[in-house]
Amino acid sequence: MELKILNIGILTWLTFLPVLGMIIVLLLPKEQKSAIRWTSLFSTLVQVIFAFLLFAKFDRSLGGVNSAATMQFNELFNWINIKSSSWFGIIKIDYYLGVDGISMPMVFLTAIISCIAVISSWNIEKSIKGYFALLLLLDTGMMGVFVSLDFFLFYIFWEVMLLPMYFLIGVWGGPRREYAAIKFFLYTLLGSVLLLLAMLALYFSVSVIDPVTGTKIHTFNMIAMMNPANFDAGSLLAGASTYWRYVAYVAIFIGFAIKVPIFPFHTWLPDAHVEAPTAISVILAGVLLKMGTYGLMRVAFPIFPDAAMYFLYPLAFLGFVNIIYGAFCAMAQKDFKKLIAYSSVSHMGIVILGMAAMNTQGMVGAMLQMFNHGTITAMLFLIVGVIYDRAHTRGLDDFGGLMNKMPGYSGVMVIAFFAAIGLPGLSGFISEAFSFLGAFQTFRWLTIASAFGIVLTAGYMLWTLQRVFLGTLPEKWNGLTDINARELTMLVPLAIIVIALGVYPNLMLDVMNTSANTLVDFVKGSVGLAVGN
C-alpha cells in the first residue's frame, strides 16, 4: 500500500508538514500575529486532512507488527551510511516509515490533537512566534515517533519532541514552570538514556544481510529486531529468556514507563500539567502519554516477547496500582488540573492492564483506551482551560453552580465527565470494558481489584462535577461568560468522536483488530522458541 502526494509519501507529509509550517512561522515578522496563528492552523489542518486520507485508505486486513510486508504506506530510504574501516564496520540507518493498526490510530489522534492545540493556543500573546514554532516542531516529533520503524529514527523523534516540550512548559507555563519543565525534561531524559542503552545493545546483537553488498551488517530496523533469527549467536541479547534480555527489557520498559507514566514514575505528570499552558496539557495528556504505551506495544513486546511474557504479572500489577492509586490521589486533589492529571494516571493504568492481558480483547481494549483517553482527557483539559481563562483559578472549591451560568459549557462538560466515568454510549466505556474483560481472562483477582476503580472514578468525577458545576454560583463569578465559538470549535469535534466511538466503536476497532491479533499471536507464539541460532 502506497500513497504519494507530489511524489512524496503521505507519512513524510504528515510528519514534516508542521516543520514546513514552522519554517514559514519563523520567516514571518513577529508583529504578524494573526498570520502566524493562521499558518500554524493551516499546516495542522492539512495534517488532519492527510490523517483522514490515511484513515480512509488504510487496509484493515493487514496485521503489520512484525511483518514488514504488511506494514502500510512504507517509505524506506537509506539515510545515514557510514563506511568505516574501524571495528564496528558499516553503520546504516534507514529512513523507514510505515504504519499498522497500532500506530494508525495514534497518527490520527496526533493530527487531531495538534490541530486542536493550535486552536486552543489562539489567545497566547507572549512571544507568539516562538510558541507556535515550538508547537509545530513538537507536532513533528510526536508524529515521527508514531510512524518510524527504524529504532534510531524513532529515538531521534523521541528526543526531538522533548526539547520543544521543555521550552513550552518552561517559558509559557505557570508560576512554577521552571521546576516543572526541568522535572519533566530530566525525568524523560533518564528514560531516554535507558532506551538508548537498550537500543545500542540491540544494534550490536542484531544483524541482517545488506541487500547491496550481500554482507551481514548491524541494523536499527525494528522489524528485523523482532525476528529471533536475526540475533547473532553469542551476542549479548541472543538466546531466549536470558538475563541480559530481561535487563534490556526492563531498561526499555522504564524508559517507556516514565512516559506513560507508570507508578512510581508518575510524579512529573501532575506538576507538568499544572504548570503547562492549556494547549500543552492537552498535547501532554492527549498524545505524549500514549507514546509510552505505544512504545511498549511497538518496541518492548515484539522485540522481547520472552521477557514480556515473563514480566506480564508485574506489568498487570503496575496497571492495577495505577488505576487504584491514581483514582485515590485524584480524589484528594483540590486543583482541577491536578485532579485530571491523576485521573490520567488512573486511566492509563487501564491501558497497562489491558495490554498485560495479552489477549485480543485486552489488547484491543488497551489500544482503544489509548485513543479514547487521548480525546477524553484532551476535552477535560480544554474544559479546565476554558474556565481558567475566565476565572484565573483552578481551585475546585472556588466554584459552584456554573451549570446555570454557562449552559453550553456545561453541556460539553457533562459529555467529557461521563465519558471519563465510562458511561455506555460514550467512548470510554467500550475500551474500559474490553480492557477489563480481556485482563480478567489472564489475571482474575487483580482485575476484580482493578475494576473497583470504576467506582472510585465515578466518585471523584461526580464529586468534582458537583463542586464546580452544581450548587449555587458564588457572587464573584456573576461576570462569567459562556463558552465562545472558538472554544466550541475545539471541543465539539472531540465530543463527536467520543460519541461516535461510543455508539459504533468498530470505526476504530476494525483498524486495530488485525494488528492486535498479530501482536498477541506473535508474542505468545514466540515464547519457548530458541532465539539466535
Binding site: A330, M403, V455, L462, Q466, G471
Partner: protein, 686 residues
C-alpha cells in the same frame, strides 16, 4: 427485518429521539417541549401495547434478533470471539415493555402540570426520554453486555433527574450518592459478566444458558456458578436498593416527585428484579437462598423504618424498598412468576402512590405559597390531614393504592403478594428456612400499618391549619387522569378474573418459570414440585395474610384515627427503638463513618504519600544530585583548580627568583654562559 423487529426498535428508539430532539431544540420550544415528549411516549405506549398482544398471541417462546456488532477475528475457547448485540422479546419482556411505557407516558402527562413552572422544563423532559430509552433497552436486550450498558445509562439518567434541582446541595448530593452506590453494585455485575464472557465466549442469555445447560460450568466448579450468579445479582442489589446498598433510594426523593414515581418506584428500581428474573435459569440453590434472605432482610429493615418517617415521600421510598425486597425474596424462594407479577402490580400502585403524593405536595405547596408560609415542609404528613374533602379524586385513588399495597382482597396487590407468601411457605417446606415466610408475613402486617398511617395522617381528620386549608384544591386533570388510570390498573380483574386466584389469570399462563439449566445436584427445588406445594399452601396463606393485613390496618386506625392509643406516648415509651428506626438503623452514619470516611481518608493519605514520599524521592534524588554538584563544585574550585593555580603560583615564584638574574646586561649573560660552560666542561668533560 421483520415487522416485529421494526416495532421493537421503534419502541426502543422513540424515547431516544425525544431526548435528542429536546436536548437540542427544547430551549427554543419552551413549554411545547413537554407536549412533544408526552406525544412521543404516547405513541411509544401504543406500539408497546401492540407488541405485547402480538407476542402474547404468538406461539414462539421468544423473538430473538441478533446483530453482529464487534468481531475480534479470533477465538476464545475455540469459539469465534464476537460481541453480538440484539433484541429479544419474550412474554416477560412484552409485559415489562407495557409497564415501562405506561408508567413513563403517564408520568410525562402528569409532569405537564407538576413541572410547569420549572426553570429547566425542557431539560427535564429530555432526560425523561433518555431514561425511558435506557430502561426499555434493559428490557429489550438479549445479552448481558448491552444490559450492563443500558444499566449504566439508566443510572446516569437517574443521576441527572435526581439532581434536577441541583442548586440544592441535598439534591446534588443525593444524585451523586445514587450513582456511586449503584456503581458499587454494578462493579459486581461487571465482574459477573466478565466471568460468563470468559467462560462461555458470549454474553447472550441464550448462549450462556445453553452452555450451562450443556454441562459447562464456570471454571468447572459449582461454587463459581453460585458466585457468578451472585455477582450478577450484585447489580440488582444496587439498582433495586437491596440491603446493604439500599441507602441511596430514600435520598433520591430529592428529585421531582414524578421522577420518583417513574424511576424510583415503578421502573428503574424494578430493573434489578428483572435482572434476577432474567438470570433465574442459572441461579443455584445456594445463590437463591442468599437472594431470598437479602430480599427478606431488605423488606424487613425498610418496613420498620417506614413506620416512623414523617416525610410522605420518605415513607413511600421505604415502602418501595420493602416491596422490592418482597419481589427479590419471591424470586429467591423460587416463585418466579409471583416475583415478576408483584413487580408489575407494584409498578402500577406504587407509581400511583407517588403521583398521588405528588398531587398532595403540589396542592400543599400552592396553599403554603398562598398563605406566604415558607417554613412548613410541604411533604411532612404531620402538617397535613383532612385532605379527603379537598382532594377527593386524589384521596379515592390513593385509598385504592393503599389497599393494594396492603394486600387487601380484590386488589392486584393481594393477588401478587399472596402468591409470594405462598411461595415462601413452600420454600420453607422444602428447605427448612422458616424465617423467610415469618418475615414475609410480618412485613405484610407492617406494610398495611404504615401505609394506613400515612393515609390517615394525610387525608383523614381535620387539616392542620384551617387558614391554609381554604387554599387547598384538587389538582388539574393532567394530574388526576394518571391517578385514575393507575387506580383502575390496581384492580384485580386486569390480571385474573378470579379475585383470590392469580393462577387462573393470563399472567401465570403466559409468564412461566423459565427452564432452569443449573446442574441438578446444585439446583433448587424443581419448579413442578415447588408449584405443587405452593398450591397446597395457598388457602393457608390467604388466611394469614388477610389476617395480618387486617390487624395492621386496624392498629393504624386505632392509633391514628380513633387515637385509642397515643402515638406520642408510644413513641416515648419506645424512645430508643423509635430513634433507632427514625435514624434509619444508622446506616448512613455507619457508611459515612466507615466507607466514605475511609475512602476519603485513604485518598488523603495516598495523596500525601504521593506528594511527600514518591515525589519526595524524586525531589530528593534531585536534591542529592544538587548537593553532590555543589560538593564537586567546591572540590573543583579548591582541589583541582587549586592544584592548577598552585602550579601557576609555583611557576610565578620561580619567575620572581630568576627574574633577579635577568639584568639586561650582555656581560652578565656572557658571564653566566661562560661559567655554565665551565661547569659542563668540568662535569662531563672530565
Amino acid at each position: 427485518m421483520t415487522p416485529h423487529l421494526i416495532i421493537a426498535l421503534a419502541v426502543l428508539l422513540l424515547p431516544l429521539v425525544s431526548f435528542i430532539f429536546l436536548i437540542f431544540f427544547g430551549k427554543r420550544l419552551t413549554k411545547i417541549s413537554g407536549h412533544i415528549g408526552t406525544t412521543f411516549l404516547g405513541i411509544d405506549l401504543l406500539l408497546a401495547i401492540y407488541l405485547f398482544f402480538a407476542k402474547l398471541y404468538d406461539t414462539a417462546a421468544s423473538w430473538d434478533f441478533t446483530f453482529s456488532w464487534i468481531d475480534f477475528h479470533t477465538t476464545l475457547n475455540n469459539i469465534p470471539l464476537k460481541l453480538d448485540i440484539g433484541i429479544m422479546v419474550d412474554n416477560l419482556t412484552a409485559a415489562m415493555l407495557v409497564v415501562v411505557t405506561t408508567v413513563s407516558a403517564l408520568v410525562h402527562l402528569f409532569s405537564l402540570a407538576y413541572m410547569k413552572d420549572d426553570v429547566r422544563y425542557s431539560r427535564y423532559y429530555s432526560f425523561l426520554g433518555l431514561f425511558t430509552f435506557s430502561m426499555l433497552g434493559i428490557v429489550l436486550t438479549n445479552n448481558y453486555f448491552m444490559m450492563y450498558a443500558f444499566w449504566e445509562l439508566v443510572g446516569v439518567s437517574s443521576y441527572l433527574l435526581i439532581g434536577h434541582w441541583y442548586e440544592k446541595k441535598s439534591a446534588a448530593d443525593a444524585g451523586k450518592k445514587a450513582f456511586i452506590v449503584n456503581r458499587v453494585g454494578d462493579f459486581g455485575f461487571l465482574v459477573g459478566i466478565m466471568i460468563v464472557w470468559m467462560q462461555f465466549s458470549t454474553t447472550t442469555f441464550s448462549g450462556i444458558f445453553g452452555a450451562i445447560g450443556g454441562g459447562k460450568i464456570p471454571f468447572g466448579s459449582d461454587t463459581w456458578l453460585t458466585i457468578a450468579g451472585l455477582l450478577i445479582f450484585c447489580g440488582a442489589v444496587g439498582k433495586s436498593a437491596q440491603f446493604p446498598l439500599h441507602v441511596w433510594l430514600p435520598d433520591a426523593m430529592e428529585g421531582p416527585t414524578p421522577v420518583s414515581a417513574l424511576i424510583h418506584a415503578a421502573t428503574m428500581v424494578a430493573a434489578g428484579v428483572y435482572l434476577v428474573a432474567r438470570t433465574f435459569p442459572i441461579l443455584t440453590a445456594d445463590a437463591l437462598v442468599i437472594i431470598a434472605y437479602t430480599g427478606a432482610i431488605t423488606a424487613f429493615i425498610a418496613a420498620t423504618i417506614a413506620i416512623v418517617q414523617n416525610d410522605i415521600k420518605k415513607i413511600l421510598a421505604y415502602s418501595t424498598i420493602s416491596q422490592l425486597g418482597y419481589m427479590v425474596m419471591g424470586l429467591g424462594v423460587g416463585a418466579f412468576t409471583s416475583g415478576v407479577f408483584h413487580l408489575v402490580t407494584h409498578a402500577a400502585f406504587k407509581a400511583g402512590l407517588f403521583l398521588g403524593s405528588g398531587s398532595v405536595i403540589y396542592a400543599m405547596h400552592n396553599a403554603l405559597h398562598h398563605v406566604n408560609d415558607h417554613h412548613t415542609d410541604a411533604q411532612d404528613v404531620r402538617s397535613m390531614g383532612g385532605l379527603k374533602k379537598k382532594m377527593p379524586i386524589t384521596f379515592w385513588t390513593m385509598l385504592m393504592f393503599t389497599l393494594a399495597i396492603s394486600g387487601v382482597p380484590l386488589t392486584s396487590g393481594f393477588l401478587s403478594k399472596d402468591e409470594i407468601l405462598a411461595g415462601t411457605l413452600s420454600f420453607a417446606h422444602f428447605t427448612g428456612h422458616s424465617a423467610i415466610p415469618f418475615i414475609g408475613f410480618f412485613v405484610a402486617g407492617l406494610t398495611a400499618f404504615y401505609m394506613f398511617r400515612m393515609l390517615i395522617l394525610t387525608f383523614f381528620g381535620d387539616h392542620h391549619d384551617a387558614h391554609r386549608a381554604e387554599h387547598l384544591h384538587e389538582s388539574p386533570w393532567v394530574m388526576t387522569v394518571p391517578l385514575i388510570v393507575f387506580a383502575v390498573l390496581s384492580f384485580f380483574a386486569w390480571y385474573s378474573f378470579n379475585p383470590i386466584g392469580a393462577k387462573d389469570g393470563w399472567f401465570y399462563a403466559k409468564i412461566t418459570t423459565p427452564h432452569v439449566v443449573v446442574p441438578e445436584h446444585i439446583a433448587a427445588t424443581p419448579t413442578e414440585e415447588f408449584l405443587e406445594e405452593v398450591h397446597h399452601q395457598h388457602n393457608l396463606t390467604m388466611l394469614i395474610s388477610v389476617g395480618v393485613a387486617g390487624f395492621g390496618i386496624l392498629m393504624a386506625f386505632v392509633i391514628y384515627y380513633w387515637k385509642k392509643i397515643s402515638a406520642d406516648a408510644l413513641e416515648k415509651a419506645l424512645k430508643s427503638v423509635h430513634t433507632f428506626l427514625y435514624r434509619k438503623w444508622y446506616f448512613d452514619e455507619l457508611y459515612d463513618a466507615t466507607v466514605v470516611a475511609g475512602t476519603i481518608g485513604l485518598a488523603k493519605v495516598l495523596a500525601w504519600f504521593d506528594a511527600k514520599i514518591i515525589d519526595g524521592i524524586v525531589n530528593g534524588a534531585g536534591s542529592i544530585t544538587k548537593i553532590t554538584s555543589v560538593i564537586s563544585g567546591k572540590f573543583d574550585t579548591y582541589v583541582v583548580d587549586g592544584l592548577v593555580n598552585f602550579t601557576a603560583y609555583f611557576a610565578g615564584l620561580f619567575g620572581l627568583i630568576f627574574r633577579k638574574i635577568q639584568t639586561g646586561k650582555v656581560q652578565t649573560y656572557i658571564l653566566f654562559a661562560v661559567v655554565g660552560m665551565m661547569v659542563f666542561v668540568v662535569l662531563f668533560g672530565m
